[in-house]
């Protein structure tokens, strides 16, 4: 009889002590970094750069990048939203969390996650083939308001599709959408002259722009970007403000203990701003724009509001 209570006591004690020492104990083991997309894309790629730098900052414990593609990132996002909030499961967080929560019957929303850090902001661009007939943004706008312009998107309901819908609504433009399944096929159609223009992120466009196969008509950001200094912002040309972009960050499930959150935020901040990481990202064409958890939360809220405004357009479009 006496053995069992003793065991219980030991287990309880162990439980208590591990709770009390949590902050000092973290991290105790490797951390799962869930990429809700297939290997090879920008989110996967940047995740692997983070994993490469992680052991130095996380006391020798590594980030294990796990690809959980499917359902338009719903599978991976659901997995993290339901994972224990112990700091050992992190999500590569993109704007698709917001899109999915608003457009699909998913079991999570923004509040299901604890945003920890933002490391990359990628402004949207409107692009066309180098030898395309649309000279500049003005020609593009004229063509789209008098007639219609064919637009390649990386997929229905993607952030870039939504951008185009919002622009069309705001300026009274006519677009014919050609939906693809990836940015790669989108580029193929642009370069082959099968569509007149496309919406994508600067990070995806910059390679082919430097090769001279596509050109940027407008940058959908507040100011010009050093990656493509010749590209004018939308506002410069038209006088109207129109900004839209994608972002890449890191989040944990909601309900993270405060001490673990602090620990994670501090360590991620150190990692994401380290000169090595910034250099590696730069080599691959990504600029690091670090923001801490609170600033990231703010950005997420703002994007969600923007999405809510556009949502009716998406529904009528489909």
């Amino acid at each position: 009889m006496s053995v069992i209570p003793l065991r219980i006591a030991v287990v309880l004690l162990a439980g208590l002590s591990s709770g009390a020492l949590h902050a000092a104990d973290y991290p105790q083991k490797n951390i799962d970094y869930i990429v809700p997309f297939a290997p090879g894309g920008a989110v996967d790629f940047t995740g692997r750069l983070i994993a490469e730098a992680a052991p130095e900052v996380f006391d020798g414990h590594g980030f294990v990048v796990k690809n959980m593609p499917g359902g338009g990132a719903v599978i991976g996002q659901t997995h993290v939203s339901r994972a224990p909030a112990d700091g050992y499961t992190l999500l590569a967080m993109t704007s698709s969390v917001i899109n999915n929560a608003l457009t699909k019957p998913v079991s999570y929303d923004l509040d299901s996650f604890t945003p920890l850090a933002l490391f990359n902001l990628d402004p949207g661009v409107i692009v066309t083939a180098t030898d395309g007939e649309l000279e500049d943004l003005q020609a593009f706008l004229d063509a789209a308001s008098s007639d219609s312009v064919s637009i390649a998107t990386p997929g229905d309901s993607t952030s870039h599709h939504v951008t185009a819908l919002a622009l069309a609504e705001e300026e009274g433009l006519n677009f014919r959408y050609v939906h693809n399944t990836s940015a790669a096929l989108q580029l193929h159609q642009l370069m082959g002259g099968h569509v007149q223009a496309g919406f994508m992120s600067l990070g995806e466009a910059i390679g082919p722009v430097e090769d001279g196969s596509i050109r940027i008509l407008a940058l959908l950001d507040g100011a010009r970007n050093d990656l493509a200094p010749e590209a004018p912002t939308y506002q410069e040309v038209t006088g109207h403000e129109f900004q839209w972009g994608t972002f890449r960050g890191i989040a944990a499930p909601a309900g993270l203990a405060d001490d673990v959150k602090e620990e994670l935020e501090a360590r991620l901040g150190e990692l994401l701003t380290s000169p090595d990481f910034v250099e590696r990202m730069g080599e691959a064409g990504y600029r690091v724009d670090y923001r801490d958890g609170d600033a990231f939360s703010e950005l997420l809220e703002g994007t969600a509001e923007q999405m809510l405004r556009v949502l009716p357009l998406l529904e009528t479009a489909s």
Binding site: G70, G193, E283
Partner: protein, 502 residues
Amino acid sequence: MDYSALLAAGAHAFSLWPLLSLLAGVSLGLVVGSIPGLNDTITLAVLVPITFALPSNIAFPLLVGVYCSACFGGAFPAILLKIPGTASSVLTAVDGHAMTRQGRAGQALGIATYSSTFAGTLSALVLIFFAPILAQYALRFGPAEYFALCILGLSTVVGMGAGNAMKSALACLLGLLVAMIGMSPESGYPRFTSGNFWLYEGLPLTPILIGLFGLSVVFEMLSSERSNARDKGADEVPVRFADMLLPWSMVRRLLPTWLNASALGNLVGVLPGAGMLVAIYMAYERVRRKFGERCGQGLPEGIAAPEAANNSVVASSMVPLLSLGIPGNSTSALFLGALLIQGLRPGPSLFTDTPDIAYLIVICFLIANLAMFPLGLLLARIIPNMIRSVPRALLAAAIACLCFTGAFAIGNSVFGIMVAVAFGIIGFMFNRLQVPLSPFILALVLAPVIERAFFQSMSLSGGSVAYFVTQPLSAAMLLFTLIFMVWPLGKLIIRRRRQVPG
């Protein structure tokens, strides 16, 4: 073309570490390819992060080696067990396994090795010398052309039923139906998903293939003593080295098939997103047209065509990545990641800015294909005897384990296993009812591309179907499709007419 850089890269590739890592890559590729459930994409996804820490002259030979040899490795279980190790050897299994049952496994493996090496080497040369030209040709393919090409590919199922057109048409339609599951590419509306997120992007292809070909064979092995006895007779014949070396007469006989299949593989392979399967099926269809009924009964050309086609696609799928910076399939998307992480940017500037690495990569494709020959023969000597030495029940269990592992690894989820089991049962039933599996697979793979291309064309043309015939390339392909469809029917009518008076 910078010949001095090409020569320098060639010399570099033969120095110790690059060569060793290339050979290691080729060996690894052969092994993972021959394991049902593992393939080049999974292997590269695991390897690419490891190569971050390696210098690029070691990293790329390793990756190229794996990519080149994995689809050849898939031929081993296809021929010996009728389980395609990778999707690319689905058709190799048909004639390959028929030959094994006739006790000609050695010759079948030899044909696969020769065909893969020949076509792989040829397309590596094409990659080295003609990549920019092919890339420009690939760009001419827009939505209408993709639509027409896939319809053309689909028309090859007409003759695929080994004499039973009804059953192959049924399999094809079932494939199209299964492909309807998932979100509409046009509106994002979820079809047949009953709110299950796992079905939003459609059923995952790899677990389906694992089920249809891997698990169905396991069920077959376990269910029937009769099939046990049937296979045993063939397995008694040991594979000898001499069987695998083809006589000159055989090489001369297969040469036209190799050239045909390579040409198709190179042309279709450079199109981003068109996929390897179209090339393989079209190559096999040409053989079937030529040999008719003998196809599927253990015809050497039936192995040579798909094996030559799939190895041509491997190198040519790198053309859009290296020349345009557009990855053509999931495997070259991983290559793109590997290039970026080494600080290289694929595209036209790759060969001018970093010629040493760019030429090293294309040279590695050539050497990897040549290295496949001796390594492949060596493996062909070892594997059959290994399979024979394992008791039937253990073999079935081992295959089942590999299938489950592979199905899980795709999305790190049990859902993949469930799909594999479901399609294992379906595949088992298909085999029992003698419904061919290959039209099902082809339809399943092509349906999403056809649907997307159709909607894209409609959006571009403002809803006019005439768009498909006003584009010359697409019109030509649709015309060929029509001829392919009508031809067998016409022949049938002519034969009937002749028979009536007689």
